[in-house]
């Protein structure tokens, strides 16, 4: 520990082991000269810190309690998903996508399968499209619940955490019902869904729809007019619209700065244009506006789910293109073609045409893009995921300029980090 500092580096060099000295050399062009003389303090926040949402490490240069420099270090959760995907058939990549943004796995599933569908030019039946919308919107609500709970907790509203996780439990039960899994759902398939939803699905979602609005109102009354919460979030972590665009922010983090950009609205996919909803916008680009955007998005998501459930068409949930979708089990008994298709799909998968596609969807955190480069074989040559929080986190030093350590906690909460999504 550094106890006293007399001359330049005096206390510091005694306390530093040689490795830490090397560390300082590596970053000396990124911190102010004052850090080298020991005038300001270099402090690690994380990777094991309760407010960093996992394993984010921030190297902070502090002048007292004021932030001078903030250097995010990521990669602690890097799992090489993109590399692993190169060794798998297109269908087998789906379970990997769950494990990136583990708070909204269905959004990742959707982004990936839609990119492959674009490459393969597969049409998805309307029933499957509607069910995809219902489930991704539910997962948006579930993801926002975790954000609301954790960022509330960090700002001292501890009961928020307990309430939000209670509500998320309803959603996870619905996922369990349809996919057999609470979190790593892998429910969407290229060309549709794994199977149709069970009978209990619609009543369960309806029950959730009647139950949830009262709860959201409760949260709003807990936080919106809470003077402590307002004090800690208003005017904190401001990012102007132009700067937000230069730093490639997307999702609520961008809309909090007043930029009207939601891919569900601008470039509707999976029948989003069949539903009416609004895109909540902020104005000041501070933590409070980002918070308001997400809370209002909960209402819009509920609206979308309700409309989709009302209009839910019947019919198949899987394309009948046998090149990508397995034949129904009963056909195997009498159709030779079905047996061949089944065999082909289960041994080598389907072959995608050579070429490259990029498809983006609006995940709870922003633009989730999937880039696929195909060489014409049954496995992708390259899969790259453009994950929203990777770009959003990069702007953290910009947002936290000139703040204090306690404000930084609020800013981290407001960009809704999921480190699995950052590191992939």
């Amino acid at each position: 520990m550094v106890t006293e500092r007399s001359g330049p580096q005096a206390g510091l060099s005694e306390s530093l082991t040689p490795i830490e000295d090397q560390e300082l050399q590596k970053i000396k062009h990124l911190v102010t000269p004052r850090a080298l003389t020991g005038e300001t303090m270099l402090l690690n926040m994380g990777p094991q810190h309760p407010s960093t949402h996992g394993v984010l490490r921030l190297l902070l240069e502090l002048d007292g309690e004021n932030l001078v420099t903030c250097l995010p270090h990521i990669g602690y959760l890097h799992t090489g998903i993109e590399k692993t995907a190169e060794d798998k058939t297109y269908t087998k990549v789906i379970p990997l996508t769950d494990r990136m943004d583990y708070l909204s796995p269905l959004s990742n599933n959707l982004g990936y399968v839609m990119a492959v569908e674009k490459l393969m030019q597969v049409d998805v039946p309307y029933r499957a499209q509607y069910l995809r919308v219902i489930l991704t919107e539910l997962s948006r609500i579930g993801s926002h619940m975790v954000w609301l709970g954790t960022s509330g907790l960090e700002l001292g509203a501890m009961s928020m955490f307990l309430y939000a996780f209670r509500e998320r439990e309803h959603i996870l039960r619905i996922f369990d019902m349809v996919a057999g899994q609470r979190m790593m759902t892998s429910y969407f398939r290229i060309g549709g869904l794994w199977r149709d939803v069970p009978d209990g699905f619609e009543p369960a979602v309806r029950e959730f729809l009647t139950y949830m609005p009262g709860r959201i109102r409760e949260y709003e009354s807990l936080l919106k007019e809470n003077p402590i919460f307002k004090e800690r979030t208003k005017g904190i972590g401001v990012i102007e619209a132009e700067q937000a665009l230069a730093w490639s922010l997307t999702g609520p983090s961008l809309r909090g700065s007043g930029v009207n950009w939601d891919l569900r609205k601008i470039a509707p996919y999976s029948s989003y244009d069949h539903f009416e909803f609004d895109v909540p916008l902020g104005a000041n680009g501070d933590v409070y506006d980002r918070y308001r955007c997400r809370i209002l998005e909960l209402w819009e998501s509920l609206r979308i789910v309700e409309q989709a459930l009302d209009k839910l068409p019947g019919g198949p949930v899987m394309t009948n293109d046998r090149k990508v979708a397995p034949p129904p089990k009963e056909e195997l008994a009498y159709s030779m073609e079905a047996v061949i298709h089944h065999f082909k799909l289960w041994t080598e998968g389907f072959r995608a045409p050579a070429g490259e596609v990029y498809h983006a969807i609006e995940s709870p955190r922003g633009e989730f893009g999937t880039y696929i480069s195909s060489d014409g074989s049954g496995k992708p040559r390259r899969v790259h995921f453009r994950t929203p929080t990777f770009a959003n986190l990069q702007a953290l030093p910009i947002m936290s300029e000139g703040l204090m350590v306690s404000d930084l906690i609020a800013v981290i909460g407001s960009i809704d980090l999921v480190l699995g999504d950052v590191d992939r």
Binding site: G355, E356, V357, S373, H384, A395
Partner: protein
């Protein structure tokens, strides 16, 4: 080229026309696949081409959404770096679609370096750091070139290259753990 321009939508058409007019020598090829425009750009004037795409009033590609590389092994040139650009209009109408373009830079293995785009879009920095460490592609004048995702003591071939197998390490079980541990760089003695 003429076949392609028949398929293209008006905006992509305009992008190609404008950029070829301004940089006739730097635009090497144009592709259009699944309604996505790809422009292959030479690396020498890349920052200028990007600045043009960002500032030209009719194009205004103001957001860099993504930058990543593809290892094309065994093809030549070996690497392709893809830059995904988005023209984000704040007055965009519902349902009008997104305007995107993919810039592609082809790099030989022996000379796998290209200029940084951080001067045009600051958000390019982390994408370039990621591409640098995972593919071994150098970005000239990238201010902060520390490793991003990999451990700081990572050694060896950049892991995303195709000649690195997916599984490079023997899986440790209780019966072989000690032997594997002895071979590690962190093993003492």
């Amino acid at each position: 080229m003429s076949d392609l321009s028949l398929q293209m939508d008006a905006f992509s058409h305009n992008v190609v026309a404008k950029v070829t007019e301004a940089f006739p020598d730097d635009i090497l090829a144009v592709g259009y696949f699944r309604d996505e425009l790809t422009i292959v750009v030479g690396q020498d004037n890349l920052p200028d081409v990007c600045t043009f795409l960002r500032d030209e009033p009719e194009l205004r590609f103001n957001v860099l959404t993504d930058l990543s590389a593809v290892d094309m092994l065994p093809e030549h040139p070996r690497f392709e770096v893809n830059v995904q650009l988005l023209a984000l209009r704040r007055d965009a109408q519902p349902g009008q679609g997104t305007r995107r373009v993919r810039l592609k830079v082809r790099l030989e293995e022996a000379d796998a370096r290209m200029p940084t785009l951080t001067g045009v879009w600051p958000s390019s920095a982390w994408y370039e750091r990621e591409t640098r460490e995972l593919f071994g592609i150098e970005f000239d004048q990238l201010a902060d070139a520390r490793p991003l995702l990999l451990p700081e003591d990572w050694e060896g071939t950049p892991p995303m290259r195709r000649d690195v197998p997916v599984l490079v390490e023997e899986v440790a079980f209780s019966f072989n753990r000690e032997r594997i541990d002895r071979g590690k760089s962190y093993a003492k003695e």
